[in-house]
Symmetry: C2
Subunit: 132 residues, 2 copies
């Protein structure tokens, strides 16, 4: 194969993104990433956008979104604005997601306070145990 100079194969993408190639195949079946090129041969060739998508997917996963939910919003990050179909629908998804996010932020802050209190308590108990 010639003329794909700026593209990378799945091995490099996999390594740079920190996910296995089987995971990339899996994501492809779910419509989350696509190779930029794929001629008759079968080999997949990816551009930098694919890498960014994988990174975005990882970030959204850390936030607790399922792959299905990610599939529903990820194009917002990569499609050019004018091309977005079903804007109202997308807007709904975003609003719902924002609500969830706000709740999650609240709960997380509370959890953090709890953790900090518990840590302080633990430290106290440990110091006390040492003293005797």
């Amino acid at each position: 194969m010639v003329g794909l100079s700026s593209l990378m194969q799945i091995g490099e993408l996999s390594e740079r993104a920190g996910v296995s190639h089987r995971t990339i195949h899996y994501y492809e079946r779910l419509g989350l990433v696509e190779p930029a090129e794929r001629e008759g041969t079968g080999y997949r060739y990816y551009d930098e956008i694919a890498l960014k998508r994988l990174e975005k997917i990882a970030a959204l996963k850390r936030l607790g979104l399922s792959l299905d939910e990610i599939a529903a919003v990820i194009d917002l990050y990569f499609e050019d604005a004018s091309g977005i179909r079903g804007k109202e629908r997308v807007l709904e998804i975003l609003q719902a997601q924002l609500d969830k996010t706000n709740t999650q932020l609240d709960e997380l802050s509370t959890f953090k306070r709890d953790l900090e209190n518990n840590i302080a308590r633990m430290l106290g108990l440990i110091a006390q145990a040492r003293q005797k």
Copy 2:
């Protein structure tokens, strides 16, 4: 059975906690909840603490903790402080969790900003589409 007047059966607990009785059985196997009473007969009888535990479990799940991680910290919320074994170990778990929580808070805030930007963009596009 008599004398368990202030206790409830699994059906009531299940309903009040909003989880199935099968889930409660499952949690019991993982050591997350226990009936307050269980005589020879086999029936489980729960107190209000069990309900609080289930609610706490749900909250921790929403924060993205696995059931195993929850098992590691939940007693902090219910055991009396003096009874906590392996304080150093618990402290480590808490510290690690706090780090994770801080990262998660950051990512979540970023995500929220992204969402808000996307929402604004969508609203703009929709208004524009209406105008023409």
